[in-house]
């Protein structure tokens, strides 16, 4: 393991973007589908809910559509994209010596505050991503590239929401 060697620098953002565009195009060209992340998380969660409380899943229409009766919530393309994202992230991190336990945060807050923020922010993100029927990957990136009106409106809303609040949270990040 390269755990302790110096991590390599990140690649140029335009180069990363071009690679991202090629991956996205490859996905559309071969499968007709784009990318996704929150949908896969959603289905993994539904699997747990279906194991713990199957009657509850059967009574909640939103969950039922993914796990009703014998349906396996993991039986969906987006689950495999999500699993792949984890594997790909790990492989690239390992290759570049960037796998190391750490907490990235602004200099003025403690680790614990950062973890709490991450959890709270994640909760908003997860809720909003389901509300908007897709996250930054599945809506903004994929829908944006194929010119969906809703995806573009969504994308501006994400940036708008974040910029609107950024000033008030500046102490946490700077």
């Amino acid at each position: 393991m390269k755990l302790l060697s110096d991590p390599k620098p990140f690649i140029n953002p335009y180069l990363a973007g071009a690679l991202l565009g090629l991956v996205l195009f490859f996905a559309f060209f071969v499968t007709g589908n784009g990318l996704g992340a929150s949908g896969g998380l959603n289905r993994m969660l539904v699997l747990v809910e279906d194991t713990v409380a199957p009657e509850h899943v059967d009574r909640t229409p939103y969950l039922l559509s993914m796990a009703g009766g014998d349906a396996n919530p993991l039986d969906s393309w987006v689950v495999f994209v999500t699993l792949g994202t984890l594997v790909g992230g790990f492989l690239s991190g390992w290759w570049n010596g960037r796998i190391r336990p750490e907490t990235n945060k602004g200099p003025n807050i403690s680790n614990r505050t950062r973890w709490l923020m991450a959890f709270v922010g994640g909760t908003f993100m997860g809720y909003g991503a389901r509300f908007a029927r897709g996250c930054t990957s599945g809506q903004a990136l994929s829908g944006g590239a194929v010119l969906s009106v809703g995806s573009w409106a969504f994308m501006f809303a994400v940036f708008g929401g974040a910029y609107a609040l950024a000033y008030f949270l500046r102490k946490f990040w700077n």
């Binding site: 991202l20 999500t82 984890l86 992230g89 991450a118 994640g122 809720y127 509300f131």
Partner: protein, 410 residues
């Protein structure tokens, strides 16, 4: 033509393997861009490091240009590419909530996965939070179901909305992205203290290539519905010449009385003939309106059978080619058209058939039967009673179910 029916070609397991590979490439690119690092993502919102903007919009314009270039060249069928359906207001509200989550938590769902995979502890907490948020959504969505399903526009694209060609939008989005990069770099200089002259020169070449490709998309254009037909004509034309899709009036009458089916009848004649007489429940859809119906027809349930009709067969055949070119399934046309239908079932104007029924495949699309008033669907022949009539025919309708491209964050 792409996209490929990967489940048919490689089986379910093979298809999932392809999705896994796509995910791996996606995760690797996110990691290489530095998206496992929350401080780098959050810096976007303080104008210090606009990596998020650059990666995201470069990704969008590269994929966009390639999608519409290959579509223009006839290699990719855009109608089978998943375009996220527009639910305008739920999307905007969800987006705002996500924006709040982004600045508080420092990740989005995809990037938190990569952070988790590289052992970033804040990424672990974020991913747990995201799961909790998704859980809360599943539990609460029933209470605002109506809003969640509101302002639905289906497959609605920027060219549809703006009323301009796809090429113009592709070029405009490309130029907008380049303008944002230019502005973004200046913001990085001001707020992040970056020295622009030390940025790599290849980005100018890249910008030039993107503009050139976007111009190529504009010049090549997108295939018209009849171009698409030409591409598949060799494969599909035999179905017309072998008369596999022209259904006998008797079969259509049975379809009309079959509760198991969702029968969609489209009458492509002009308004005068439609008002004189039409079959009950047949929709008035003149030929030039057919392209606007495609999305609705794609949204019909899988037990749908579509039957097209004109006075003879010529115009219905043209409409059939359009729908088949757009991958609408289970499309048939009424054999001999309305003229043959009236030959067989008669009508209020003259109860008994005056002549032997005639199938005029190359007919001039004139209504041969005389109506002295506009009867519309108020004519006995508009809805013949199947019990009174016994006609023999060879059934031709077979229902095929499409392997659907469902996408979004599924």
């Amino acid at each position: 033509m792409a996209p490929f029916p990967i489940e048919e070609l490689f089986g379910q397991a093979g298809a999932y393997l392809i999705y896994l590979l796509i995910g791996i490439l996606f995760g690797a690119v996110l990691e290489m861009a530095g998206f496992a690092k929350s401080t780098k993502l959050a810096a976007q919102f303080y104008f210090k490091d606009l990596t998020v903007l650059k990666v995201m919009f470069t990704g969008i314009i590269v994929a966009m240009v390639l999608v519409f270039l290959t579509s223009g060249l006839g290699w990719l069928d855009y109608s089978r590419v998943w375009v996220n359906h527009t639910y305008l207001w739920p999307g905007i509200v969800g987006g705002l909530i996500m924006g709040v989550g982004f600045i508080i938590g420092g990740f989005c769902p995809g990037t938190s996965l990569v952070a988790l995979a590289t052992l970033k502890i804040d990424g672990v907490f974020f991913a747990l939070g995201a799961l909790f948020g998704i859980f809360l959504f599943g539990e609460s969505v029933a209470s605002f179901d109506q809003f969640y399903n509101s302002s639905f526009y289906g497959r609605f694209t920027l060219p549809d909305w703006l009323g301009v060609s796809t090429g113009v939008v592709v070029l405009a989005v490309t130029l907008m992205a380049l303008f944002m990069f230019w502005g973004g770099e200046h913001l990085e200089r001001i707020f992040g203290g970056k020295e622009l002259h030390r940025e790599p020169k290849f980005r100018y070449a890249g910008a030039g290539v993107m503009v050139a490709l976007a111009l190529a998309v504009l010049v090549i254009g997108q295939p018209t519905i009849m171009d698409k037909w030409e591409q598949i004509a060799a494969e599909k034309e035999p179905r017309l010449t072998n008369r596999e899709v022209q259904i006998h009036p008797g079969e259509m009458l049975d379809l009309m009385n079959n509760d198991q089916l969702n029968l969609v009848m489209l009458d492509v004649r002009d308004e005068v003939d439609y008002n004189l007489f039409h079959i009950v429940d047949a929709k008035f859809t003149p030929l030039d309106s057919i392209p606007t119906l495609i999305d609705d027809l794609h949204g019909e349930p899988s037990n749908t059978v579509i039957v097209l009709m004109s006075n003879d067969e010529v115009n219905a055949t043209t409409a059939w080619k359009m729908l088949v070119a757009e991958n609408v399934l289970n499309v048939y046309l009424l054999e001999g058209g309305i003229n043959y239908w009236l030959d067989i079932f008669g009508h209020g104007g003259h109860e008994n058939c005056l002549t032997e029924p005639v199938i005029n495949t190359e007919g001039d699309e004139e209504l041969r039967h005389v109506f002295n008033s506009a009867r519309g669907a108020n004519d006995p022949a508009a809805e013949p009673d199947p019990h009174d009539i016994d006609v023999e025919y060879t059934p031709k309708v077979e229902i095929k179910v499409q392997q659907s491209t469902t996408g979004g964050c599924g």
